[in-house]
Symmetry: C3
Subunit: 301 residues, 3 copies
Amino acid sequence: MTKTNPGNYFEDFQLGQVLRHATPRTITEGDVALYTAFTGSRFAVTSSDEVARAAGLARSPVDPLLVFHMVFGKSVPDISLNAVANLGYADGRFLAPVYPGDTVASSSEVIGLKENSNRKTGVVYVRTTGVNQRGEAVLSYVRWVMVRKKDEAAVIAAEATPTLPQAVAASDLVLPEGLDFKGYDFTLGGSPHAFEDYEIGEKIDHIDGMAIEEGEHALATRLYQNTAKVHFNQFERAKDPSGRRLVYGGVVISTARGLAFNGLENAGLILAINGGRHVNPYFAGGTIFAWSQVLDKADLG
Amino acid sequence: MTKTNPGNYFEDFQLGQVLRHATPRTITEGDVALYTAFTGSRFAVTSSDEVARAAGLARSPVDPLLVFHMVFGKSVPDISLNAVANLGYADGRFLAPVYPGDTVASSSEVIGLKENSNRKTGVVYVRTTGVNQRGEAVLSYVRWVMVRKKDEAAVIAAEATPTLPQAVAASDLVLPEGLDFKGYDFTLGGSPHAFEDYEIGEKIDHIDGMAIEEGEHALATRLYQNTAKVHFNQFERAKDPSGRRLVYGGVVISTARGLAFNGLENAGLILAINGGRHVNPYFAGGTIFAWSQVLDKADLG
Amino acid sequence: MTKTNPGNYFEDFQLGQVLRHATPRTITEGDVALYTAFTGSRFAVTSSDEVARAAGLARSPVDPLLVFHMVFGKSVPDISLNAVANLGYADGRFLAPVYPGDTVASSSEVIGLKENSNRKTGVVYVRTTGVNQRGEAVLSYVRWVMVRKKDEAAVIAAEATPTLPQAVAASDLVLPEGLDFKGYDFTLGGSPHAFEDYEIGEKIDHIDGMAIEEGEHALATRLYQNTAKVHFNQFERAKDPSGRRLVYGGVVISTARGLAFNGLENAGLILAINGGRHVNPYFAGGTIFAWSQVLDKADLG
């Protein structure tokens, strides 16, 4: 009997199957400091306990994207160890703030399966949920990945493609309990621009650029306990045409989010991820730039 | 209206102006651990809560230079985003210890302005002050930077060059309350050399050398939330004759301080920064060495 | 009088001598987060406070290997600053769990001395012990290093070679007080494989590979406050045939341990280090792989 984890192949997944992922994770001030070192994040509400308290929270919550990476990382050994490509995300919602000291565990439900016509691969859709130590959901999102079949001849019992929202409805957004920005100090926030200053359709070039080295993305991806081999195994990667390790897409997302401070200073807490795709690989040493467009607005009061 | 921060140009500053900087920062055990990883610092009083308690403190204070970098980082977007060069520091004093969990905010007063004869740039002198969540000053220092003018024709209303002390007077040094080295254990400190063993004029070659990689200084500088583009934007920097990112001078200062343990083992707490200049740029990969000279001594009892 | 530490030469050591090492170290959540970033460790009991509590512990203990590196690091300035080679380890036992907030100090007793026939070097055997702030031993191990003589003519008073166990006896293993895996959740652990599934002689190829960059090992080794020059001083190392910094062997051990999760998922706490040698140097950029063999089993109840 082999002791190592072979991962799941496309034919191993079944509609409705729930996979409880391993390695629950206590997120600490140490993780938060590292996340700042990885991203340079300057959003006041996650940078200063005092700003967070003034906004009605117990202290600075863990950056929602750090929570995302932690919850995501747990799902890799079960969902995407044999993935060819991580295709997309949708309907991501942060359901409760996570504070240092909280422990996050994660599980995924298979909500879609679609074999490709070549019968060598298929697309697996999962809804992944992160819960804290009290069993409260803190994050829920859908992702879909193309996964290899182990046996081309294997027959897939039932297939289905889930219907996913283009965007999370404003009525589905969950604000942290007690959140109140009445006394918010825009100077400490870093910009005078408030909700009403942003217009639908507006594009913001965040100007700044950030290069990430091999050592940096590897530190981040290990911190997230994401074990996908493409990020670490240089010996294997040397055989790839790129010859390079692939950077975990979440590192790019977080870098872009860090850059987006310059123009979105007072947008301190991500409530939802409408959707996303990794449209091109990023290799260490390249400089990442970011821009944002306001697609819609919803006044939450 | 552009949403991104253009930074202040030379003509935007006025004598007496006070700029409250954004992004207050709760400094945690995570930041302290990273600072040790960046510097290898071994000073017993900042390494061991037990040593700190034996010296009359609540626990290990945050390394004063880490406090400096945090306070400094906040000032960059307002003071030096359009800087040509960071010219110098003077009259820096640490006024109260910072402990993990404290939140530091910072502000700067413009105390000097001197336009250069080419009218393209000018020197801005600021006194920057860091305060904790109780409003107590923890650090105050002067720095001066050469800043670009946006409009060469702009007329500067009032100019002045501040008089700065060559060194902080011993009578102006502030010891952490309760500090008492009576029971100090020199073996745990790492050397038998005490105050009375150091002579004015004595030079100490700290012997050891330390190379810093791109990924390391970028992690540190992001941790300090210092956003100066020259440290991160490799795409832009490729157009510079050096072709390289500039390493934040504070990284070099802290590396030198870490190396200085070897010969200054029992000098665990910096009380003041008499002055300093970045006399040459440092690029990643070079090996940093350090030496110290005892310029003066003051017995604080 | 020179102020810098020259380190001890072979003739400076005496049988029975006890060296109290400098720089006690409070180990924090920040150190733990960094260790995860360095290794990607996923063992549930050190990753999740909840899993640790379910196993009868106060919270997640600090990874024993992180404790090892901290205790080891302290011994370098006294034991191996003038070492030619770090030859081996034996009889290492973790005697009490270390929790974030604990402060570890370390000391070494010289238990063996053997001059080499060339009279230029000799082998020093030390038993190094780490203790916490309550004076309780947390770790004890033997290591031996080849150390240069300063003066070839120096006569060594007394020599002895200690007898070391091939392996730590099961009866000498110390379990953390209160440890109870009765309610252990193997799904959260990451594998169904339990004690009874491993057979003596069984070999496990851990499959995954991990590359480490210069910036990464330097961060780790500085965090451990290990000051051996070969890890940091690139200027000096450029004169070595390799032209490269040597990676601290402990970085390789911890990387291998992180990789070993894949196949040893539920072996969350190292109780002892039977022995070990660094059989080849590792240079940054290489990909580390790992395999394990079950040499023996002992049912601790």
